[in-house]
């Protein structure tokens, strides 16, 4: 059975934790093969076939974390067309499986391929995905690390960034849901809480868009049309979104992109430039000819 998945040009990155076990360590890394089910695809993949396998898995390494319990596996998928062979012996995870994983908070008993393929095929139902985000975003631990602080307390503290946040929350209408005042208020609260949590960074324009998108993804009524006729009370929505945001900023280190001096942004632009140079040399040359010798210069 061959399955085709399309991706946008933007690089997709999947990270997941796998409970260390001898069974998993003996496994081969996930194999991604190029195959095509129709002529158009075949034409496309033959031209790039050689480089594809290299590009598909840029990094496939195992990293043992502090507590030595989890194996951390990172796979980067960068192509537009991505075809993966489903091995018959690999059962695709179903709702019950995801529930077991969430309940045990571990992947024990499942293979990397199984999980990978299931994520690729998006077999996670929406309500489970919400719980999955809470699990994957390290919420429990981040909540503990707040110690005597809490989301509610962080909202109430005052911050110099309040004026700017108010200005921007009112003009972050990326979705109809932000036409409602309560949702704008939620956006404001999360940003204020984060500005109080991360005093060094505070609030920078752009964070509003990240948080707004997280709210859209996490909001029940937006994602489940069956709930349209109901009034949904999801008290924990804002807090959960805050912790997902915290995970992105702190654990995934996106805060460096926004910090004074934009160190992380420079790094990302460098990587982008190198990728363009390597993969689209014509474009890189064109930029060069037009006087854009180094992209980072535009940040100085």
């Amino acid at each position: 059975m061959w399955l085709t998945k399309s991706y946008s040009f933007i690089k997709t990155r999947i990270d997941y934790h796998i409970k260390k076990s001898s069974q998993i360590q003996e496994q081969q890394p996930v194999v991604i093969k190029q195959q095509s089910s129709n002529f158009k695809n075949r034409q496309r993949s033959t031209s790039v076939n050689k480089s594809m396998t290299k590009i598909n898995i840029i990094k496939d390494f195992y990293y043992i974390s502090k507590d030595d319990q989890y194996v951390y596996n990172t796979i980067e998928i960068t192509d537009n067309l991505f075809i993966e062979q489903i091995k018959k012996e690999n059962k695709i995870l179903e709702k019950i499986d995801w529930l077991v994983i969430l309940k045990n908070k571990s992947f024990l008993g499942y293979k990397i391929q199984q999980i990978h393929q299931s994520i690729m095929l998006q077999t996670i139902e929406y309500d489970i995905r919400r719980q999955w985000w809470i699990f994957a975003s390290n919420q429990e631990q981040n909540m503990k690390e707040l110690k005597n602080q809490s989301f509610q307390k962080l909202i109430l503290s005052d911050t110099l960034h309040k004026i700017q946040i108010k200005k921007d929350a009112a003009r972050t209408i990326i979705h109809d849901m932000f036409k409602q005042q309560e949702n704008q208020q939620s956006l404001k609260n999360i940003l204020i809480a984060y500005a109080n949590y991360d005093k060094e960074l505070g609030y920078v324009q752009g964070l509003n868009i990240i948080v707004a998108n997280l709210l859209v993804c996490y909001d029940l009524s937006v994602n489940d049309s069956q709930l349209n006729d109901f009034e949904i009370i999801d008290k924990d929505r804002d807090e959960t979104v805050f912790f997902i945001f915290l995970y992105i900023m702190k654990d995934r280190n996106w805060r460096t992109v926004f910090l004074e001096g934009f160190k992380g942004l420079r790094l990302k632009i460098d990587v982008l430039e190198q990728m363009i140079k390597k993969k689209i040399p014509e474009l890189h040359k064109h930029f060069y000819d037009e006087g854009i010798v180094k992209m980072n210069l535009y940040l100085d």
């Binding site: 200005k167 921007d168 003009r171 972050t172 209408i173 324009q205 509003n208 926004f258 934009f262 100085d300």
Partner: protein, 208 residues
Amino acid sequence: MSRQANSQDYDWLVKVIVIGDSGVGKTNILSQFCDAKFSITHMATLGVDFKIKTIDVDGKKLKLQIWDTAGQERFRNITKTYYKGAQGVILTYSVIDRQSFQNVDGWLRSIQENTNSNDVQLVLVGNKADMSAERQVTMEEGQKLSQQYNIPFFETSAKSNMNINESFHNLAQRIISTLCKMQANDDAPKLNLKQTEGKEKTKADGCC
């Protein structure tokens, strides 16, 4: 600076930047001027954005490359880059935001620090003039400030398209007269049209 393939569609190419505090309406001034559009729910500008519009001034076609900058403090280090080579600056404040008016001094200082202020033409713009109920800065205050620094001043409204074109045309006219002066003083001015044409031609020969 980028050059368009067809050099005949303009006589001059100039760079104009729009600066001012966050939320004063820089992006809306620009979209009103370039696309005759106004949107109440515009997203905050991140980093920088730019639009192009060609206008007629005294029978000359002037191509304006207008850079829209982010107003937030954090982006100010980045926006410094965009002062480079700018021939015109639209300095904006909002008449319903006292703070943005008070920050005009700071913006003027950063123009002085980052440009050769003799070659740069400025215009001071007090935007959101249509919102009379929430006004915090009077027209007289704006005029007084502009006289103090000797800059032309307009109260505008991007929403009702009041004085938007006038501000840009005023700026454009003064840019042209500076450019003409520079051309007269110096045989090799910064923006020599002939040079541009010559380069375009060789380029065109190469690819055809």
